[in-house]
């Protein structure tokens, strides 16, 4: 089955510094990869996705991610963190099991804390 791993439970960064939230994947074939953010008491918000094409994907709120096939990674990055970026971040991969209708499989999530 397609899966993703987020090795960090929490990432702490000072406001204004660059941030990275890590994600690695394990798939057969070409992966469809996604990043979502979840703010407290709110649903999931889409940030960006990689389907094909340019390995550097730009998304919402200044976030970007780089698809690295050799390292099987899809790390989320932002050049300058904001306190308002503090939230729970999920990496996800589209499953290729047809009997599950190509649902998303999620990583465990990484809590990002940006301090002033």
């Amino acid at each position: 089955a397609q899966s993703v791993a987020q090795p960090e439970d929490q990432v702490n960064v000072a406001e204004g510094n660059p941030l990275t939230v890590k994600c690695t994947y394990s798939v057969s074939g070409n992966p469809y990869l996604f990043w979502y953010v979840q703010y407290p008491n709110r649903g999931l918000q889409f940030l960006l996705k990689y389907i094909t094409g340019d390995n550097l994907v730009k998304g919402s709120y200044g976030f970007e991610a780089e698809f690295n096939k050799s390292q099987t990674s899809f790390h989320l990055k932002k050049p300058s963190a904001l306190v308002s970026d503090s939230a729970l971040y999920f990496c996800a991969v589209r499953d290729m099991k047809s009997n599950s209708g190509y649902a998303l499989n999620f990583g465990k999530g990484t809590s990002l804390l940006v301090t002033p």
């Binding site: 469809y32 996604f34 979502y36 008491n41 709110r42 649903g43 999931l44 889409f46 996705k49 389907i51 999920f90 589209r94 009997n99 599950s100 209708g101 190509y102 649902a103 998303l104 499989n105 999620f106 990583g107 465990k108 999530g109």
Partner: protein
């Protein structure tokens, strides 16, 4: 992109009762998905709902506990039956639109 309206947004229920969660999509979608997010955990797929056929359940989830309806291409319901405190979670619906996925705002369920 599609927008999903999910309700209720939260509920507190007595053990042994059932709760039905509704999701309405503003466009027609083939597949809808139901997830559970237990406190402090990631999202776990409960089942996939395709219009006109029975839902497909993931390992560990059964139809008697989580019956799903998908009467048309814009609507689905998930019922959490005979609830126990262990069912306290956030339940989210999702739809695939093109190669993207949109999510409802979630239902925060507390069983007492």
């Amino acid at each position: 992109s599609a927008v999903i309206s999910q309700k209720p947004s939260r509920d507190i229920c007595q053990r042994g009762t059932s709760l039905t969660i509704q999701c309405q999509v503003d466009s027609q979608v083939t597949m809808m998905f139901w997830y559970r997010q237990q406190p402090g955990q990631s999202l776990t797929l409960i089942a996939t709902a395709n219009q006109g056929s029975e839902a497909t359940y993931e390992s560990g989830f059964v139809i008697d506990k989580f019956p799903i309806s998908r009467p048309n291409l814009t609507f689905s319901t998930l019922t959490v039956s005979n609830m126990s405190p262990e069912d306290s979670s956030i339940y989210l619906c999702s739809a695939e639109v093109g190669y993207g996925y949109t999510f409802g705002s979630g239902t925060r369920l507390t069983v007492v």
